[in-house]
Subunit: 434 residues, 4 copies
């Protein structure tokens, strides 16, 4: 059914033959312009596809966010941010766009930033070939299979590398690049010449959508904070001078490459890749852009859409029993973030009269993030200090380490009945056995 | 507890006395630089605050996203986008930044765009005072109370309006503004002179976070697609030339004003406002920026964070009974979007052997979006066509209008037992009574 | 014969109907595009012309160098240079082109600079109408007749003055313009609406070529240092973004106007004006540019041409008589500047043996500048100190005030024979009777 | 006396120790900052100097106008102008400043233009070393002695050549440079590493001032039109972003180099060079700029000064004899250009009654340019056609080839008496014996 949808979507855009294959490199100009494919990779590794999703082409600029992720992982944020900014340039991909004064490239999605980022992959002191090896390993880990390089594209691009060499020497003149800057360009073009398929790209995007863990291999490729940084930069800068149109109309962090690839990654949900070699004037795949507009609209994938899940954290609120044994039950549901936890706080704090015994029922909660956990534990702690007995009904251990700390106390049970019937709190478990 | 948190956060930033109050307008320069306040408004209207949240100050540039929303509502996307772009400018707030050739301002968050946007509020043909009235009404609807204008700030700014008059005449020379451009500037400065409090701003932001419905008044101020557009533009362009830093470090659609206000709106979750008059070199409130960095980090509010809710849509998958009466039960949970619905598709499509009788149990689902609904109904339809009997267990009517259409058929029940026991489908309800 | 030449030149360019009349002002767009005229005004006031040299049109930007001259005269260099620079902008005439930081317009030939210059004409504190009066008087003095304003062009331009109002307000925001900036724009457009003919413009240019003295009226309109400044700026900045082409191919300080006028002024030689309303993409008259290219080439008017006059200052060098009465005669010729005087120095200093009696014969010298005079007098002084008797043969009193000062002594005679025969220097005149 | 003047001028600027030696190349940074020298070279080869005029330093950017001259000579204007523009850039020397679209450097005085110009020296197809040889030969011809290269500066600059390599690759990407662009940069840096003295530079400048003929060797190094082009470009673009200040205050076509050299060339008059290594923020020698300001002011060297020689071409105008033998004599003087010849035309044409016999007396004329010659011959021709007998009194053969052509006839004599007494024109010489 999803493949049907994809096939139908491809059918609709197939008629659009506008745009041109990248003309500046002979090897790319000869690509078959009719190729067309699209793939979805879910964050648990399921892949759907239609069309040419197993045709190999060179990754080109789509390598940029992934190598940026590797550099951030390998060198840390400080070292990378000192050399490459995060501001949109409002300019074309091959503009030099260095920050006035420092010579720092404005962001890692333009060539100047990507060349610098390339030089920051792996630990300091790597030889150029070792750096290419590190990057090939890293991108292969994102893809979940060993990627190979297209030597003929690399050779062809090196013959037309004046612009990139100009950028690299300009970076050298500012001290942003050091050492043999021509070797950096050679390595960068090797990075761009790695062969991928739309299927690979969808998995790579899904690895970003899945917090940095490859959903096929289960390997953590980069840490979560790196993923957040990369997705933010893709959102602002991934589509060059069409960034604003993309941000408003599609709203998915994305990156395109001149060989016709285009990826999008929606956090927690999906990685998407399309392949169609004809490019528009911004250098983005014409049919790829149409497909993403359609996917975003059809599937509600815009990051500024209110997610369906973000509502109704507090399901019910009632009292069981009466007198001294009365138990105030707050039944929560869904996935809890700050906004959900806040409602619990409000109910508890705002209650005109609160029973001595209070239960937070997490039976219908399937997940909670760290801030929700901390807020709920603080609620528990304060209730304890105010003389309440607090129960946490958590049959599936949704709350890790339920220790309110500092004077707080909570009895964790697996069924609400246990809280209702617990007349003697000393008999109940204070905390879950570890 | 949340007020405690806010108070503690204010305490930490209070020591920072760097920055300067806006110097270019005498009335603003004399503001009390020590004022400090922060407010959270939840999407259901609950407001938390600490510090000076009821001190009135002029809204200034924070009016920009709201008036952009009004213009989009009043004139439609096409007419507004024809006159104001959505691309980040990478420049300071008062740069002219017109698109070369067309003279179209790059985005509605810089002054050139905001002046143009002002002229597009209300229907065509309004008199300048009527336009100001429309805007005052609109911003008051966002705030949930009638806003007043600070006439002395308006008068003071008009005396120093050279830059804005220059921008307006430049827009006039390109035909982007028509009619009396000086009256437009006067109106724009009136718009900027509306008096708000941090509490008001938090509610205004919460109205954006709440899909355009004011959580206090329940009034729909602008339609959902407008909100999505506004939040996208705030994310890319709201913090001027520091947009990239903000997008990566804070990750909340935001807007600042030179009187010291700063707002953020996280879709579906929260509206935040801070007030502290001293500004950094970008024109953003120094302590406001610090507070937002802290809020984002402490509470996991970055839009590129994977929301806790986005996981584990399919809870269990089991068979009840055996033989011909065997019922395959798929129990879903949480809030369902595309990614959740896709898992159901996969289970159903991928099952090696599927029983004749299938139940989709929505008992633990608290919400679903339109794409999830459509996907699930298509699953139902295909199952029917393949000869299956399908039950929808939906005690809380989470799925609106459960009609699979075109050959599909589904029996809606309120408890799983009804499906288990339904031996004769003709006896069951085919659809919920309307 | 010169009119024949001009008529022939007009005939050659008449066939070129490319270009467009200025479209942005209705009154100018309706000009008869076929009008064509050219005039030469010699520095002694003789005027030659062919074609439409008595057709009136608005002066437009050709007013800029003349008003710059008035401002420099009225306010002094320091005050004007503090507000308007002298650097080429490399941009179109209506670009804002302000110096980053100060907001100072780059030069007085672009609109931003010209509007500022307008505000600096006349003494401080003038009312707008008085300033326009001062400028009308000044430009009339350059032209040698009272100029009138075209009120309908003024009115038409005021209706399309957005760009100039934008520039003026931008200047106001930087404090470069003060007071009522809209009145400055009104005055500037009045200045541009003054009616002139090609004949007038040739005289105005000849006034610049003639060191600031109107060759018809004999009136000194502006001082010499002002003229030098104005011509220098015209050379670098007068033709907007085609300045370099013009400087190399034509090499005459020049200025064009959108009504089709074009002037050039070659110091000491000639003022030239052409009139043809169709403009090229730089805003310069198409046929005007062709005519100037031809004039420069045909008549050797390029400022970097070595002037014919600049050679051979020392005509002969011989000794008359012998023994103690021998007289060393240095016969000079032509117009003497530094380079000519230097040759005299060299001969005198370098002579292996120099007679006691030395005569500098200026009979064939028709003029000398101040530096030549000072150098020659210093030669005389040193010769005196070394024991020589020095005679100045100066029948036409080419050297003003021939006093070598400080120990120097010279005998001025009107014929070389007087020096030859002067056995007793005490009998001769030491200096010319005043 | 001139050396005294120079020594005095050096003394006045010596106290100024502001500025810094060029820091970006170690070999230049170690230059002795106290070095100070100035030299004048007259167009006949006389050289005056004071201070360190025989200290060798690298020519650096002062090579640019000379290599531009060589490229124009070797390849012709069209080929060079197709690759390098003539517009001021308004930017610093090492800005890339390419024309948008074509990638053509804006002018040959910035590095991008100079690197391109280097590649255009000599005929097409030269090897890099041959091109360096051609340039070394050419610059040596300008200097009048064989110049050597400073290999250590070349080596040092090559190690810091990132900026120039960036520029060269950018030019390569636009097809402005072809072949091995790194070899072009190497050659360009060799060109900049040629060693010169202030004396050499003064001679080189004097060669430009002397229409392209080296005044020492008498060798024509480049043709006259090339010199005019080079001087024009130096005037507009030679002092980088201070071009306008220089043009107005100094007014001499000039060029500076980062090793501390500075040259100026005033057509027909003088070549000037100064040497002082400390540079201002524009990269121009601090004390060099002061010296030139002084020289220009003291000696009236500004190109927009009216040259003393440019006046009074027609000396007298009288009739000798009476009746049929009456002779109208027009006595000319000085150097004749167009403006001078025009006066003759006017007298002849404007005369109410003109005698049959007319003499143009050139006895006091020392030179005339081509346009003056053509105008005078046309006057002669027309007089002949109107029935006049015309005499040319030209004892020194100032007018070459005095043939009025096409019906014109003139009798050339060496003394006015010959014309007065010539009753029978058939007896006189019609033209000078060849």
């Amino acid at each position: 059914m999803i493949p049907d949808y994809l096939a139908e979507a491809l059918g609709e855009v197939a008629a659009d033959t506008t745009g041109e294959t990248a003309g500046y490199i002979p090897e790319l100009a000869t690509a078959d312009p009719e190729r067309l494919g699209a793939a979805f990779a879910m964050v648990d590794g399921e892949v759907y596809g239609a069309g040419d999703i197993d045709t190999a082409f060179t990754i080109q600029s789509i390598s940029k966010p992934f190598v940026y992720a590797l550099a951030l992982s390998d060198r840390g944020f400080d070292q990378v941010l000192a050399k490459v900014g995060v501001e949109p340039s409002g300019e074309a991909f091959n503009e030099i766009s260095l920050e006035s004064g420092t010579g720092r490239p404005l962001n890692p999605m333009i060539n100047a930033g990507a060349i610098t980022t390339h030089s920051l992959a792996g630990p300091e002191g790597l030889q150029p070939t070792e750096r290419v090896e590190r990057i090939t390993d890293g991108l292969s880990a994102f893809a979940g299979r060993r990627l190979k390089m297209d030597e003929s594209v690399h050779a062809s691009e090196m013959e037309h590398a004046h612009r990139n060499l100009a950028i690299a020497h300009m970076l050298g003149s500012h001290g942003v690049l050091t050492g043999d800057v021509q070797a950096v360009v050679d390595g960068y073009i090797r990075q761009c010449s790695l062969l991928v398929t739309a299927r690979d790209l969808a998995i790579m995007a899904a690895t970003l959508a899945n917090r940095g863990v490859n959903p096929l291999s289960g390997e953590r490729v980069v840490p979560e904070p790196v993923v957040r940084q990369v997705l933010s930069v893709m959102f602002s800068c991934g589509m060059y001078d069409a960034a604003g149109d993309w941000a408003t109309q599609v709203g998915i962090p994305a990156k395109s490459g001149v060989a016709g690839g285009l990826i999008g990654a929606l956090p927690g949900q999906i990685g998407i890749a399309t392949f169609s070699p004809r490019l528009d004037s911004h250098g983005n795949s014409v049919r790829g852009v149409s497909l993403f507009e359609r996917f975003s609209s059809d599937m509600g994938l815009h990051v500024m859409e209110v997610p369906a899940a973000a509502r109704a954290a507090l399901r019910t609120h009632h009292v069981v029993g009466s007198g001294l044994s009365a138990l105030r039950v707050l039944q929560l549901q869904g996935g809890l973030g700050f906004a959900g936890a806040e409602k619990v706080v409000r109910e508890v704090v705002g209650a005109a009269h609160l029973e001595v015994r209070v239960a937070l029922d997490l039976t219908r909660v399937h997940s909670m993030d760290d801030v929700a956990r901390r807020v709920l534990l603080e609620v528990v702690r304060r209730l304890t200090l105010d003389g309440h007995e607090v129960y946490l009904v958590d049959p599936e251990e949704v709350m890790p380490d339920p220790d309110p700390g500092d004077g707080g106390r909570v009895t964790v049970v697996t069924h609400l009945d246990q809280a209702v019937n617990a007349q003697d709190t000393s008999a109940a478990l204070r905390s879950r056995p570890q």
